[in-house]
C-alpha cells in the first residue's frame, strides 16, 4: 500500500509540473492586437486598409452597393425593377434592408480602423513625426466616413475611441456635431498631410483634405470657410484643369481633353501629368491589390455593366419592323456600351434637358463622351454600319429605356477593353465576363472644387465669383459662359451633372443639400414612390436591435 501511495504522489507531482508555455496561444498565420501595432510598417499597413475600405465602399464592394450613390437620384433610373436598385423604394429603404445596413457597416468599419490606429500609437515605436503623419491619415479617412454617414443618415453616433469590449449603448449625435467632428479631423489632416506633389499616385494629400473640407463646410453652412478651403486647392500651383489633349490616347479621334480625362492610365499625376485629379482611387487590372480582374467582373467597379445600355435587346431592321436578328453584336468593345445591361438608365433630364443651351458646342456632350448615336455593329443585321440615335429612335424603341438611352463613355473603355476580355478582335465581341470599368476613378477632381467654391460664393451672395468659377469649368469644355444672374443651386446641380455625371456620388451631393426629394420629383418621373422621408436613409433596424442598452432614434417617416 505504501508503494501505491508513492506512485500516486509521483503522479500528482508529475501532473502539476506541466510547462506553462504548453498552453500558451500563439497565432501562426495571422497577427493579433498585441503584435500588430508596433512599428511604422504596422501602422502604414493599417492605413492601406483604409484605402481598401474606401475603394470597397464607393466602388467595388459588390454588384449593387456602390451604385446606391447613383440610383434613386435625378441622374438615372432602374432598367429592371429590383429592391437592390431602388425600385419599390419602400423595400429598398426599409430599415431592415441591405442598403441601409451595408453602407453603415462599411463606413463604421473605416471609423473603427481609424480609431484603432490613433489609439494604438502611444504605445508604439513611432517617432513623433510618424505619429503625426499616421494620425493625419487616419483622421482624413475617419472624416470621410463620418461625412458620408452624416449625408446619408443624418446625425449618427460619434465614436472616437477604439472599442475593446462590446458597447451597446450608442446614441445619435446631432448632424451639426457630426459635421463639426469631421471639420476637426479634416483641419488636422489639412495641416499635417503632405503636399499633393510629394505623394504617390492615389495617396491622400492636404489638397484632398482641403477639397473635402470645403464640401463639409458647405454642409455645415460655413460658406466663407468653404471658400477658404477651396482656395487652398484651386490656388495650389500643382493643380490645374487639363485644357489640352493628353495621355495614353491623345491622338485618337474622335476625342478631346474631356475624353482624355477618362482614358486608361490618364488619371494619375505621374503617368501623363494629369494635374486635375485630387484624389484618384486606384484600379489596376490583374494585379494583386489592383481591384480589377479581366477574368471576372466580380470585385471590380461595375459601372460599365450598370450604365451601359442593354443594346442586346434591340431587334430592329432597316424596314423598321421587329426581327429576331439582334441589331447589335453584344457585348462589344466599341461605343455601344461594352457589356452594359441598362440598369442605370439616364433620365431624360440628364441626357437631354441639361444640354439644351450648348448641345453642339459643349464637348462633354460630344457623341464620344455622351453617346446618342449608335453605330449598328452586327454583320448579320441589315442595319450593319447604319446609325440609330436616341434623338430619333427607331419605331418601337422607347427612349430612355433599358435598351436605349444616351450614356457617358466614362463608364466604360471604348475600343480599349483588356485584351483578355476580347472574344473576337475582328468584330469587337467581348467575353461575357466583361462589365467592369478599367480605369482609375476620380474621387475628387479639381473641376468639382471650382463648383464647390461656386456654390459657396453663391451662398455668400457673390454671384459674380460663383459664375466665374462655373465658367472656368464650362470654358474648358467650350460651353458658353453662364451669367451671374442665372447662378442658383439648380444651375450648379445641373452643371455638376454635366461635368461629373456618373462620376459623382450624386446621392451625397443631394443628401448634403437635402434636395434629394425635390430633384427626383423634378427630374426623374420614374420614381413615382419617392417620399421626402428618403432624403435620409433609415438607421438599420439591426443596429437599433443590437444597440440594446440605449435607443438609437430612427429617422422620421420610417
Amino acid at each position: 500500500m505504501k508503494k501505491l501511495l508513492f506512485i500516486v504522489i509521483f503522479f500528482v507531482i508529475g501532473a502539476s509540473s506541466c510547462k506553462k508555455a504548453f498552453l500558451d496561444e500563439k497565432p501562426i498565420s495571422f497577427l493579433s492586437g498585441s503584435n500588430a501595432f508596433i512599428t511604422y510598417k504596422d501602422f502604414t499597413a493599417s492605413v492601406i486598409d483604409l484605402y481598401v475600405l474606401t475603394r470597397a465602399e464607393f466602388y467595388s464592394s459588390g454588384e449593387s452597393r456602390p451604385f446606391d450613390y447613383l440610383y434613386g437620384t435625378d441622374l438615372v433610373f432602374d432598367g429592371e425593377p429590383a429592391v437592390d436598385r431602388h425600385t419599390n423604394m419602400i423595400a429598398a429603404y426599409n430599415p431592415t434592408g441591405n442598403i441601409a445596413r451595408d453602407h453603415w457597416r462599411l463606413l463604421y468599419k473605416m471609423v473603427a480602423e481609424a480609431n484603432t490606429i490613433i489609439a494604438r500609437m502611444p504605445n508604439s515605436e513611432l517617432t513623433d513625426a510618424q505619429k503625426v503623419s499616421i494620425e493625419a491619415h487616419a483622421r482624413f479617412f475617419r472624416a470621410l466616413a463620418y461625412r458620408t454617414l452624416t449625408y446619408l443618415y443624418g446625425g449618427v453616433p460619434i465614436s472616437l475611441e477604439e472599442v475593446t469590449s462590446p458597447k451597446t449603448d450608442y446614441v445619435r449625435a446631432s448632424k451639426a456635431d457630426c459635421l463639426n467632428q469631421v471639420i476637426t479631423d479634416l483641419t488636422f489632416a489639412v495641416a499635417n498631410l503632405p503636399a499633393i506633389n510629394t505623394v504617390r499616385d492615389g495617396e491622400i494629400s492636404n489638397a484632398a483634405a482641403s477639397h473635402l473640407l470645403a464640401e463639409v463646410y458647405l454642409a455645415a453652412e460655413n460658406y466663407q470657410e468653404a471658400v477658404d478651403a477651396a482656395n487652398a486647392v484651386i490656388n495650389n500651383p500643382n493643380l490645374s484643369l487639363m485644357r489640352t489633349r493628353f495621355g495614353s490616347r491623345s491622338t485618337v479621334t474622335p476625342g478631346d481633353v474631356y475624353w482624355d480625362l477618362f482614358q486608361q492610365k490618364n488619371q494619375n499625376r505621374s503617368s501623363y501629368s494629369n494635374r486635375e485629379g485630387i484624389l484618384v482611387m486606384q484600379f489596376e487590372t490583374d494585379v494583386i491589390g489592383g481591384g480589377a480582374l479581366s477574368t471576372t467582373r466580380d470585385s471590380s467597379y461595375m459601372l460599365e455593366r450598370h450604365h451601359g445600355p442593354s443594346v442586346r435587346d434591340i431587334f430592329v431592321n432597316s424596314a423598321g419592323t421587329t426581327t429576331n436578328v439582334p441589331t447589335f453584336l453584344w457585348p462589344n468593345n466599341d461605343y455601344s456600351g461594352g457589356r452594359g445591361i441598362g440598369w442605370a438608365v439616364s433620365t431624360k433630364y440628364f441626357m437631354d434637358d441639361i444640354w439644351q443651351s450648348d448641345f453642339k458646342n459643349d464637348i462633354r456632350n460630344a457623341n464620344h463622351n455622351f453617346v446618342r448615336d449608335y453605330v449598328c455593329n452586327n454583320r448579320a443585321s441589315d442595319m450593319f454600319g447604319k446609325t440609330i440615335s436616341t434623338s430619333n429612335p427607331p419605331k418601337g424603341i422607347t427612349v430612355p429605356s433599358r435598351a436605349f438611352y444616351a450614356y457617358q463613355t466614362k463608364a466604360t473603355t471604348p475600343f480599349d477593353h483588356p485584351s483578355n476580355l476580347i472574344q473576337d478582335a475582328a468584330t469587337g465581341l467581348l467575353k461575357p465576363a466583361a462589365g467592369a470599368t478599367f480605369t482609375d476613378q476620380y474621387m475628387f477632381r479639381l473641376a468639382e472644387t471650382y463648383l464647390l467654391r461656386a456654390e459657396a460664393y453663391m451662398r455668400l451672395g457673390n454671384l459674380g465669383s460663383a459664375a466665374a468659377d462655373i465658367n472656368v469649368v464650362r470654358a474648358r469644355s467650350s460651353a458658353s459662359p453662364v451669367s451671374a444672374a442665372n447662378v442658383n443651386i439648380e444651375y450648379i446641380l445641373d452643371e455638376r451633372m454635366r461635368e461629373l455625371g456618373v462620376e459623382e456620388k450624386r446621392r451625397l451631393t443631394l443628401g448634403r443639400l437635402g434636395l434629394l426629394y425635390e430633384r427626383v420629383k423634378k427630374c426623374n418621373p420614374y420614381y413615382k414612390d419617392m417620399l421626402p422621408t428618403y432624403n435620409l436613409w433609415p438607421i438599420p433596424s439591426s443596429e437599433i436591435e443590437r444597440n440594446k442598452d440605449a435607443k438609437l432614434e430612427q429617422n422620421p417617416g420610417y
Binding site: 500516486v8 501562426i28 423595400a91 475593446t164 477574368t295 436578328v325 436591435e545
Partner: protein, 1035 residues
C-alpha cells in the same frame, strides 16, 4: 478414432455399457446389429460378467443423429431460481438437431446416445446452460435468469466496466442489425438507433453525418459529440474508418459519464472500439453492391413547361398589354434562348445529363486470431461509391492492423493502427445551374465542344464546365495508438497503461479548369497537413475485498494539434497541357498559407466503488487546460458523482415479473470549448491589398482588425442531473433503459451581434444559460420465441425540450434570434396568411402575388415590430422501431425511424418565391410548383412582377416516418459448409431509405435545412435510397 462400446447379454436384454456403467437398452441386440453396417463394428468374446459381445463402432457413425442409436433416456425437471417449474424450455443434445421442450410442469424426457452426451437447456430470458450427463439419468436443472446487464462489458472512457456497475447514462449501439446496410460511414449505422443520439442523414458520397447527443446546449461552441477511437480522441473524418473494423460504439450521454472527458464532453462522447483478434484463426471476406437513386422526384421543367412558365411570369407582356393580345412567345423570351430563326429548337434535360444511377461497391478482407500470448487482426477494405450526381465519387482504400502481445506476466504491449486513403477525384456540376439552365439550350455544340456560356445574354456558365475539369481530391488518414500496460506484481490489481495516440491527415486538392477565369484557365493546388498526438498515462487499481469492490483510475495526459496549409492559384494560361502540375505557367498567380496549433493538458481521477455488488458509487474529477482560452481562464475543473442501486438483488425485493432493476442517479459538470484564437483580437494581414500608381509591381499589404478580442472568455459549463433505470422484466422478454435528464449550460459561448458602430459584427462572449430537459427510453422485447421462430422488437424514444433561461443584460437578443423562455432554434419572423390577389386592397410595397404580411400588433403598419415567434426548428420527439425475425437460417429485420415536430416544432424553411427579372425569365425552375397566378389564386408559392417589401419566411413541418433499413439474411447450414471447409457463409439483401412518409416538399425533410437547401431548392441534393446485396464468408 473409434469409441469402444461393450454389449452385455442380460437375459434376453442387451446391456449397453461404457466405463462400467450399465443401462438397459430398449431394443434387441439383433436390431442393433441390423442398424449398423457390418464393417462398423466387431465382436469378440469377453469373459467377464456374462458379457457376450463387445463391439467397436466407428466414431463417424455416432455423429449421425439416429434416435435408434440413442438408447439412454434422460429425464428431469427444469425450475427457476425460486423453484417454479419452467415450461417450454428447449432441451437439445449438443451437436445434433435432436431436441425437446419441457412440459407444463417443467419436465422433459430425451434419449441420448450415451452418458458422454451433453444437453443444452435454453429459454428466452435465462442463461443457456450446457450440462454433462454425469452418472445419472435424471438431470434436474435450475435455470438462472439471464441478465445481459450483468455480463455485458461497456467502454466507459479510460477503461472498461461491467454494465452492471455503470451508474451513468451509457448506451451501446446495436451495430449488428445494420451491418448489412449499404453504409460507407460507421455513423450511418447509428442514425435513429440509439435514443438520445441524433445522427443526421447524408446525401453525398462518403459524407459524414452530424452526430449530436441530446439537445443543443451551445450556440457558438462546438456541437458535435466527442469521438474517442480506441481510447484516443479522434478529430479525423469518420469516413476514414472502415465500418467493418468496428467492434462496438458506446455512447456516453449524461454529464456524470462524460465528465471523464471534461472540457470537451458537453456534447456527449462516442467511444469507438475496433475489433480485436481472438480464438482460432479466422479469415473473413465480405462484399456487397448497392444501388443509389434519389428519394425525391424533383425535376426541372421541360421546354414546353418553361415557355408556359415564362408567359405566366411576365404577365405584363403576356396578358395585360393595351391591346389585350398575347404577343408571340419569341417576344417574351429572353434573347439568350432565341436566335434569328426564333426560339432555339432544343428540349434538353440538363438534370438528366448531370445525374446518373449511383452505386456502392464494397470489399473487405480480414484475418484475425488470438492465442494466450498474442492476438491480431489485419484487415483491408475497398469501398467504391458513386453518387447520384455525376462525379460525386468516393473511393476508400483502408487497412488496419491491431496487434497485442503479452510479453511477460506483467507486461502487455500493443498497437492499434489504420490508414485510409480516400479518393474523391472529380468535380460535380453545379447543382443549381444544372437545374436552372434552360432546356432550350444544349451543353455541347455540333462539333462536340462544350459551350461555356450557353446563354448569349448572361454570364451564366454551363454546369458541365465545372465538372469537365481535372480534379484531384485525396485525403489520407493515419492513425496509430501504441500502448503498453504494466500489471504491477507487487500489488495485485494495480496497473499502469500508457497510450500514445497519433493521428495524421493529409489533404491534397488540385484543380485544373480550362474554362475557369473567363476561359483563360484556372488552376489551384491546396495542400494541408494535420497531426495530433495524445499522450495518456493511466493508473488503475482494481480490487475486490470481501463485499467491497473498488476501481480507482488516475489520468494524466496531453493533446497537441498542429495544422498547416498552402494554397496556390493561377489564372491565365496559354495552354493547360501540364494541368495543375505547373502552376507557374499562369499569368496571374496568388498564394496563401496558414496554420494553427492548439493544445490541451488534463488530469483526471475516478473511483468506482461497489458494495455487495448492489450499491455502486462512481466519482470523477477532471481538470482541463486548453490553449484557446484567455490567459485568466486557461483551466477548469469538471467533477461528477453518480450512484447505482441494483434493487433486484435485495432480499426484500419480491416482484416476480422483475428480474433485474438498477436505479441510477448522476450529477456532473462537463465543458465545451470555443474555437482556437477566439479570445484574441485577430489582425488579418492577407486579402487587404491596394496599390498606388500604374504598373504591376507595387502591391501594398494592409491589415485589418477582424474581430474583437475577449480576454475574459471562459469555458462553457454544462451541469446535468440524470436519473435512470435499467431493467429486465417478464423473464427476460422485456429489457430496457429509461433516462430522464435535466441539463443547464451556463456561460454560453456565443458570437453575439454588437452594433456595427464598434467596427465589428460579433464578439464571442459568455452570454447566458440554456436548459435542456428530456427523456429517453429504450425497450427490447422478445415477442415470439418458439419452434425456431424468434421475433424481437427494439423501440427507442427520445424527447428534448430546449429553453434559453438567461441572457446577459437586458432581456432578449432579438438581433441574435435569442429569446428567454424559448428554444435556441426558435423561428422569429413575420407571419403570413396567404398571398395578395388581384383586386384586393394591397398596401404600398406589396403586389398581387406577394405574401400577405400580418400586422400582428395591429398598429396599422407592417414593420419589424410585427415579427413573432412562429415556432421552433427543434423536433418534439424522435422514435424508432427495429423488428427482427429469425427463422431457422433466415434473419429478417426492418427499421423505422421518425422525427416528429407536432404543430409548431421541427419546422423548416421552404421559402420558394419568384419575381420577374431578367434572370428568372431565362432560368428554368422546378417542375410542378403550385405558383400563384391570377388564374391560380390559391397557389401556394408567391410569384409577382415586383419584389415586395417583406417576403416572410415560409415554414413547413419536417416531420417524417421513414422505413430506413430493411434486411434479409441467410446463413448457410453448417453441414453443407463443413464439407466446403467454410466456417460461416451469409448472404443478404437489404434496402435503405425505401419509403418516407412526410408532408414536406422538396428533397428530404431530415437533410440539413441550412438555407432551406432541403426544400424546394434547386441547389439541394436528394437523399439516396438503394437496394444492396452481398455476402460474408468466414474460413
Amino acid at each position: 478414432m473409434c469409441k469402444i462400446f461393450t454389449l452385455f447379454k442380460h437375459g434376453s436384454i442387451l446391456k449397453y455399457l461404457n466405463k462400467g456403467f450399465t443401462v438397459p437398452l430398449l431394443i434387441s441386440g439383433s436390431m442393433l446389429t441390423m442398424l449398423l453396417p457390418a464393417d462398423a463394428w466387431s465382436k469378440e468374446a469377453y469373459p467377464k460378467m456374462g458379457m457376450v459381445d463387445r463391439m467397436t463402432i466407428k466414431d463417424s457413425l455416432l455423429s449421425i443423429p439416429n434416435p435408434f442409436l440413442y438408447q439412454l433416456e434422460v429425464s428431469g425437471k427444469v425450475t427457476d431460481a425460486k423453484g417454479s417449474p419452467v415450461p417450454g424450455v428447449s432441451v437439445k443434445i449438443k451437436d445434433t438437431s435432436i431436441a425437446t421442450v419441457t412440459n407444463a410442469n417443467g419436465e422433459y424426457r430425451i434419449r441420448v446416445p450415451n452418458n458422454a452426451a451433453k444437453l443444452i437447456f435454453s429459454y428466452t430470458g435465462y442463461s443457456t446452460q450446457e450440462r454433462d450427463l454425469g452418472s445419472g439419468t435424471v438431470l434436474n436443472i435450475v435455470l438462472a435468469e439471464e441478465n445481459k446487464n450483468l455480463t455485458e462489458v461497456v467502454v466507459v472512457g479510460y477503461g472498461q466496466q461491467r454494465k452492471a456497475t455503470v451508474t451513468g447514462s451509457i448506451a451501446r449501439a446495436n451495430l449488428e442489425s445494420f451491418r448489412d446496410a449499404p453504409n460507407t460511414n460507421i455513423a450511418q449505422s447509428l442514425q435513429g438507433a440509439v435514443a438520445g443520439l441524433n445522427v443526421g442523414p447524408v446525401s453525398g458520397a462518403g459524407n459524414t453525418p452530424t452526430i449530436r447527443v441530446r439537445g443543443q446546449n451551445t450556440l457558438s461552441g462546438n456541437q458535435n459529440a466527442l469521438i474517442i477511437l480506441d481510447g484516443i480522441q479522434y478529430n479525423g473524418n469518420l469516413s476514414a474508418i472502415n465500418p467493418d473494423d468496428i467492434e462496438s460504439i458506446d455512447v456516453l450521454k449524461d454529464a456524470s459519464s462524460t465528465a471523464v472527458y471534461g472540457a470537451q464532453a458537453a456534447n456527449g462522447v462516442l467511444l469507438v472500439t475496433s475489433r480485436k483478434g481472438k480464438g482460432e484463426p479466422r479469415i473473413n471476406f465480405t462484399t456487397s453492391y448497392a444501388t443509389q437513386t434519389p428519394t425525391a422526384d424533383l425535376r426541372p421543367m421541360t421546354r414546353d413547361e418553361q415557355l408556359e412558365y415564362m408567359k405566366a411570369l411576365d404577365l405584363t407582356k403576356s396578358y395585360t398589354n393595351p391591346a389585350y393580345v398575347q404577343p408571340p412567345i419569341t417576344v417574351i423570351a429572353d434573347g439568350g434562348i432565341k436566335n434569328a430563326a426564333g426560339l432555339l429548337p432544343n428540349d434538353f434535360n440538363w438534370y438528366d445529363a448531370g445525374t446518373n444511377r449511383g452505386y456502392i461497391n464494397d470489399y473487405g478482407l480480414s484475418v484475425s486470431g488470438g492465442a494466450e500470448k498474442v492476438n491480431y487482426l489485419i484487415s483491408a477494405n475497398f469501398t467504391n461509391q458513386s453518387g447520384f450526381i455525376i462525379n460525386d465519387k468516393f473511393k476508400r482504400k483502408s487497412g488496419r492492423a491491431n496487434l497485442e502481445g503479452k510479453v511477460t506476466d506483467w507486461l502487455t504491449v500493443g498497437v492499434q493502427t489504420f490508414a485510409a486513403f480516400n479518393n474523391e477525384d472529380g468535380a460535380e456540376p453545379d447543382k443549381t445551374t444544372l437545374f436552372r439552365t434552360s432546356p432550350l439550350l444544349v451543353p455541347y455544340d455540333a462539333s462536340g465542344n462544350l459551350i461555356v456560356q450557353p446563354y448569349s445574354t448572361s454570364q451564366d456558365i454551363n454546369p458541365f464546365s465545372t465538372s469537365n475539369i481535372d480534379n484531384f481530391d485525396r485525403h489520407n488518414f493515419y492513425f496509430a495508438n501504441l500502448y503498453s500496460q504494466v500489471n504491477f506484481p507487487f500489488l495485485e490489481g494495480l496497473s499502469y497503461r500508457i497510450n500514445f495516440g497519433n493521428n495524421g491527415r493529409t489533404d491534397n486538392v488540385y484543380i485544373a479548369n480550362p474554362y475557369g477565369a473567363s476561359q483563360t484557365g484556372s488552376v489551384s493546388k491546396f495542400v494541408e497537413q494535420y497531426y495530433d498526438y495524445t499522450l495518456d498515462n493511466i493508473l488503475t487499481y482494481n480490487r475486490k475485498i470481501n463485499k467491497h469492490g473498488i476501481t480507482g483510475t488516475l489520468l494524466y495526459g496531453a493533446i497537441e494539434r498542429r495544422d498547416e496549409f498552402t494554397q496556390a492559384n493561377a489564372t491565365g494560361f496559354s495552354r493547360l497541357t501540364l494541368g495543375y502540375n505547373n502552376i507557374g505557367l499562369g499569368a496571374v498567380q496568388t498564394v496563401s498559407s496558414g496554420g494553427y496549433r492548439e493544445s490541451l493538458n488534463y488530469q483526471m481521477a475516478r473511483v468506482n466503488y461497489t458494495f455487495d455488488d448492489k450499491y455502486i458509487f462512481t466519482g470523477t474529477v477532471r481538470r482541463d487546460g486548453f490553449s484557446a482560452f484567455a490567459a485568466n481562464n486557461k483551466f477548469a475543473v469538471f467533477p461528477s458523482a453518480s450512484l447505482g442501486w441494483i434493487v433486484t438483488d435485495e432480499s426484500f425485493f419480491k416482484i416476480p415479473a422483475v428480474q433485474y432493476l438498477k436505479i441510477r442517479a448522476g450529477y456532473g459538470i462537463s465543458g465545451n470549448q470555443v474555437g482556437r484564437y477566439r479570445s484574441l483580437d485577430q489582425v488579418r494581414a492577407s486579402g487587404y491589398t491596394y496599390l498606388f500608381g500604374d504598373g504591376n509591381s507595387n502591391t501594398l499589404f494592409g491589415q485589418r482588425l477582424s474581430n474583437l478580442g475577449n480576454p475574459n472568455l471562459r469555458w462553457e459549463k454544462t451541469r446535468e442531473i440524470n436519473l435512470g433505470a435499467d431493467f429486465t422484466l417478464f423473464k427476460g422478454r422485456l429489457t430496457g433503459a429509461l433516462d430522464v435528464y435535466s441539463r443547464k449550460t451556463k456561460d454560453l459561448l456565443f458570437n453575439v451581434n454588437i452594433p456595427n458602430v464598434t467596427g465589428f459584427e460579433t464578439i464571442t462572449s459568455n452570454i447566458g444559460a440554456v436548459s435542456n430537459k428530456g427523456i429517453e427510453l429504450t425497450l427490447t422485447s422478445t415477442n415470439i420465441n418458439s419452434g425456431g421462430f424468434k421475433w424481437n422488437t427494439t423501440f427507442n424514444f427520445s424527447r428534448n425540450v430546449n429553453k434559453i433561461t438567461e441572457l446577459l443584460g437586458n432581456g432578449d437578443l432579438i438581433n441574435s434570434n435569442l429569446f428567454i423562455g424559448h428554444s435556441i432554434n426558435s423561428i422569429y419572423d413575420y407571419k403570413s396568411d396567404g398571398i395578395y390577389g388581384v383586386g384586393e386592397t394591397i398596401p404600398a410595397g406589396y403586389y398581387p402575388g406577394t405574401r400577405r404580411v400580418v400586422d400582428t400588433n395591429n398598429d396599422g403598419v407592417v414593420n419589424t415590430l410585427d415579427r413573432v415567434i412562429i415556432g421552433s426548428q427543434d423536433p418534439k420527439f424522435r422514435f424508432s422501431v427495429l423488428n427482427s425475425f429469425d427463422y431457422k437460417s433466415f434473419t429478417f429485420s426492418f427499421f423505422v425511424n421518425s422525427i416528429q415536430g407536432g404543430s409548431d416544432g421541427y419546422l423548416g424553411s421552404n421559402t420558394l418565391s419568384l419575381i420577374l427579372n431578367d434572370n428568372n425569365m431565362r432560368y428554368n425552375n422546378i417542375a410542378g410548383i403550385d405558383w400563384w397566378s391570377p388564374s391560380n389564386p390559391n397557389g401556394e408559392y408567391p410569384r409577382s412582377q415586383v419584389s415586395p417589401t417583406f417576403n416572410p419566411g415560409y415554414y413547413k413541418s419536417r416531420s417524417f416516418v421513414r422505413l430506413q433499413d430493411i434486411t434479409l439474411n441467410y446463413k448457410f447450414p453448417q453441414p453443407l459448409l463443413k464439407t466446403l471447409h467454410i466456417k460461416n457463409l451469409t448472404v443478404f439483401v437489404s434496402g435503405k431509405n425505401l419509403v418516407t412518409w412526410t408532408n414536406w416538399k422538396g428533397w428530404d425533410p431530415e437533410l440539413s435545412n441550412d438555407s432551406g437547401l432541403n426544400g424546394l431548392n434547386m441547389g439541394g441534393r436528394p437523399l439516396l435510397k438503394g437496394y444492396s446485396a452481398g455476402l460474408n464468408v468466414t474460413f
